[in-house]
C-alpha cells in the first residue's frame, strides 16, 4: 500500500500545475458554501446576541432599523432625534430603567457614544486601565478605539467636525482619555464613551466662558441692560473642559428638551416589557422597538440572500465538479498505456488500480482536507474576518 501511494504521490507531484488547479477547484467547491454558511451563522449569532441583550429601544418615530443599528452598533446613520424627556418618562413609569443614548458624533472613524454610567453595567463592560468617566469631558475608550486612535489613558481625543463647512455648528471638543475598557468582542470596543452631557457640549448646547458679570470680562461685553448682560462674539468658547474652567460650564435651557438618539429601556420582566410597549402604541412622537425583532427581520433578508448565493455556489460547484471528473476521465484515458505497461510487467490488480485512481483520490482528499482546514479557520477567526470586511 505504501509503495503504490508513493507512486501516486509521484504522479501528482510531477503534474504540479494540473494537480494544483484541481485541488484548488475541489477546495473551493466544498468550502464556499460551507464557509459562507459558517460566516453567516456566526455573524447572525453575534448580531442576535447583542440584539437580544438589548430589551427595548425607544426613539423618535422613524425607521426601526436605523434606530436599532445606531443604538446597537453606533452606525453613522443617525436616526431622528428624541429628547431626554423620553428617558425621564420611562423612569417615571417604573416599568423599566432607562439608559439615554446620544450617538451622533465621531472621533475620526470611531463613534462617540454619549450615555450614562448604567450603560457599562448593562453591557458588562469593565475598565482595563485608568478609571471610569467621572467629570464632564471625560472619555473612556473601547479597546479597539484606543488602538485605532493610538491613544491611551492620559491622552486626549478631539471630536471631529460634522462637516467641513460647519463654522457655527458642532465644534470640536478636546477630551481627556481617563480609561480604556477591556476587550468585549462587540461594537463597544470601537466606541469613545462620554457622559451624555459631554455629548451635548460637543453639540454646542452647553459651554463655558468667562463670567460676563465680572469686571475682567468687560472686553467681551456687548452691552448691559439692567441685569441682562449681552456678550459679543469675542467671548471665547472653550473647546476643552479643564479643572480650571469646569465651574463655568453650564447648559442653557431645559435638559428635558436636549437631544438623544435613543433610550434603552431595561424592564425587569416580560410583563413590564409588555406594559411599557403598550404605552407607546398610540404615541405620536415616539416609537418603541424590540431590537431582536428588528435584527430577526434583517437576518431573514440576509439569510434569503445567502440561500441564493449558496444555490449559485452549489450550481457552479457541481459544474466544476463535472469538469473535474471530465479531467480525471481524460487522464485515465491518457494513462492507458501506462496501465498496460504495469499490467504487462506483472503489477497486481489492486496495485495498478491504486496507481491509476491516485489522481482522483489524491486530489479529492487534499481538496476536502484543505476545505475542512479553511472551514475550521473560518469558524475560529470568522468574527475577525467579518469585522475586517465590514470596516
Amino acid at each position: 500500500m505504501r509503495d503504490t501511494l508513493y507512486l501516486a504521490w509521484r504522479y501528482l507531484a510531477f503534474h504540479r500545475v494540473k494537480t494544483g488547479i484541481l485541488v484548488a477547484a475541489i477546495t473551493l467547491i466544498v468550502f464556499l458554501p460551507v464557509g459562507l454558511r459558517v460566516i453567516v451563522d456566526q455573524s447572525s449569532r453575534q448580531l442576535t446576541a447583542r440584539a437580544e441583550a438589548t430589551p427595548l429601544a425607544i426613539g423618535a418615530k422613524g425607521s426601526p432599523t436605523e434606530l436599532t443599528l445606531n443604538t446597537l452598533y453606533f452606525s453613522s446613520d443617525v436616526p431622528a432625534r428624541t429628547t431626554y424627556a423620553a428617558a425621564s418618562e420611562v423612569t417615571a413609569t417604573r416599568l423599566a430603567s432607562a439608559i439615554p443614548m446620544y450617538v451622533r458624533f465621531r472621533v475620526r472613524g470611531q463613534p462617540i457614544v454619549g450615555t450614562t454610567l448604567e450603560y457599562f453595567g448593562f453591557r458588562g463592560l469593565r475598565i482595563a486601565e485608568g478609571r471610569q468617566i467621572a467629570v464632564l469631558g471625560d472619555a473612556v475608550l473601547g479597546s479597539r478605539a484606543a488602538e485605532r486612535l493610538g491613544v491611551g489613558t492620559g491622552g486626549h481625543v478631539i471630536s471631529s467636525p460634522e462637516s467641513v463647512f460647519d463654522i457655527a455648528g458642532v465644534y470640536p471638543l478636546r477630551m481627556p482619555v481617563v480609561g480604556v475598557l477591556e476587550f468585549s468582542d462587540s461594537a463597544d470596543d470601537d466606541a469613545v464613551f462620554v457622559d451624555v452631557k459631554t455629548a451635548w457640549v460637543i453639540e454646542g448646547l452647553g459651554h463655558g466662558h468667562q463670567d460676563l458679570s465680572q469686571p475682567e470680562a468687560s472686553s467681551g461685553v456687548l452691552r448691559r441692560e439692567g441685569n441682562v448682560v449681552v456678550g459679543n462674539a469675542s467671548v471665547m468658547q472653550y473647546n476643552e473642559i479643564t479643572p480650571d474652567n469646569i465651574d463655568s460650564f453650564h447648559f442653557h435651557g431645559d435638559l428635558s428638551d436636549f437631544p438623544l438618539t435613543a433610550v434603552i429601556a431595561v424592564p425587569p420582566d416580560q410583563r413590564s416589557s409588555a406594559l411599557l410597549q403598550g404605552r407607546y402604541q398610540s404615541a405620536e412622537l415616539r416609537q418603541v422597538v424590540s431590537p431582536s425583532e428588528v435584527m430577526d427581520e434583517l437576518l431573514d433578508t440576509i439569510l434569503t440572500v445567502e440561500k441564493f448565493v449558496i444555490a449559485g455556489a452549489v450550481t457552479v460547484g457541481l459544474a466544476t465538479l463535472a469538469t473535474a471528473f471530465l479531467v480525471f476521465a481524460l487522464s485515465l484515458r491518457l494513462r492507458r498505456r501506462e496501465r498496460e505497461t504495469l499490467f504487462k510487467i506483472g503489477g497486481s490488480r489492486s496495485a495498478v488500480a491504486t496507481v491509476m485512481t491516485s489522481e482522483i483520490v489524491g486530489v479529492l482528499a487534499v481538496g476536502v482536507l484543505l476545505a475542512l482546514l479553511l472551514t475550521f479557520l473560518t469558524q475560529r477567526y470568522g468574527d475577525v474576518i467579518i469585522r475586517t470586511l465590514i470596516r
Binding site: D3, T4, Y6, L7, R10, Y11, A13, F14, H15, R337, E338, T341, L342, F343, K344, I345, G346, G347, S348, R349, A351, V352, V355
Partner: protein, 239 residues
C-alpha cells in the same frame, strides 16, 4: 524453459490465426523470433508471459502451466519470473530513472523493496552507465539511455526468463550494439533464458537459435501450416 503444445490463438475479429503444434525453448539459451509483421511473434511472447491465454493448447514456462492460471496468478508469475523489455521502452514519465528501475517492486506484494534491492539497482545502473542520471526523468534521457533503464528494470528481479520485443527497434546503430552487449553479457553471466522478437536480421548471429514464424502462421483460413516443417527448421537451426 518453455514448452508449447497444440497452441491455437486468434484475436476474435480479423484473419489472424496462430497455430503452433509444438515448440520448446531450452533454459539458458538465446532465441530470436523472426518473421513478417503480423505473424504472431509479439502474440507468442505475450502468451509465454501469460499476458494473454490461448484458445486451446498448453503454454508451460519453467514448468508452470501459464495457460491454465488465473489472471492474478499470471501477474504474480510474470513479475517474479519474467523480465520484459519493449520496443517503445514504456517507462513512466513521472518517475525518476531510479524509481522506474525499482518499479516492479512497488506494484506487487510478491516483491519487497529493501536495501538489498536498492543496492542491486544501483549496481545495475552503474553497469549500464546511467548511474549519474538516477534522479532524472525519462524525458531528459536519450533513446539509448531510456532503453538501458528499461533493461535494468527488466533484470532487477533477476528473472529466469527475459522476453524482449524489438529491443533495438528504436535505437541507432551505436546504441543498438550497446544495448545488445548489455543484454547478452547479462544473460551469459546469469544463465537467463533470452527470447527476442526482432526484425533486424543483422543481429541474428548473436542468438543461439532463430525461429521463423512463417512456419507457424497461415494467412487466411485455407491451409494449415505444416508442423513438421517448423520442427525440421527448429532442429536444423544453427546452434
Amino acid at each position: 524453459m518453455i514448452r508449447i503444445d497444440g497452441l491455437r490463438f486468434s484475436y476474435g475479429e480479423g484473419d489472424f490465426r496462430l497455430w503452433i503444434p509444438e515448440l520448446a525453448v531450452e533454459a539458458g539459451t538465446t532465441t530470436a523470433f523472426i518473421g513478417p509483421s503480423g505473424s504472431g511473434k509479439t502474440t507468442l511472447l505475450n502468451l509465454i508471459a501469460g499476458i494473454i491465454r490461448p484458445e486451446t493448447g498448453r503454454v508451460e514456462t519453467r514448468n508452470v502451466e501459464v495457460s491454465g492460471m488465473s489472471d492474478e496468478e499470471r501477474r504474480r508469475f510474470r513479475i517474479t519470473t519474467v523480465g520484459l523489455v519493449f520496443q517503445e521502452f514504456e517507462l513512466l514519465e513521472y518517475l525518476t530513472v531510479l524509481d522506474n528501475i525499482l518499479l516492479p517492486y512497488r506494484i506487487h506484494s510478491a516483491l519487497t523493496l529493501d536495501s538489498a534491492v536498492r543496492e542491486r539497482a544501483g549496481s545495475l545502473a552503474e553497469r549500464v552507465g546511467i548511474s549519474d542520471k538516477l534522479g532524472r526523468h525519462p524525458r531528459r534521457l536519450s533513446q539509448g539511455e531510456r532503453q538501458r533503464v528499461a533493461v535494468c528494470r527488466a533484470v532487477l528481479t533477476d528473472p529466469p526468463l527475459l522476453l524482449t520485443d524489438e529491443p533495438t527497434g528504436n535505437l541507432d546503430p551505436v546504441n543498438r550494439e550497446r544495448v545488445l552487449d548489455i543484454l547478452f553479457d547479462y544473460v551469459k553471466e546469469s544463465g537467463t533464458t533470452l527470447v527476442s522478437v526482432t526484425h533486424d536480421h543483422e543481429i541474428l548471429p548473436r542468438f543461439g537459435r532463430v525461429v521463423d514464424f512463417r512456419e507457424f502462421h497461415s494467412f487466411g483460413e485455407a491451409g494449415v501450416a505444416s508442423g513438421n516443417r517448423a520442427e525440421d527448421r527448429a532442429n536444423g537451426g544453427a546452434s
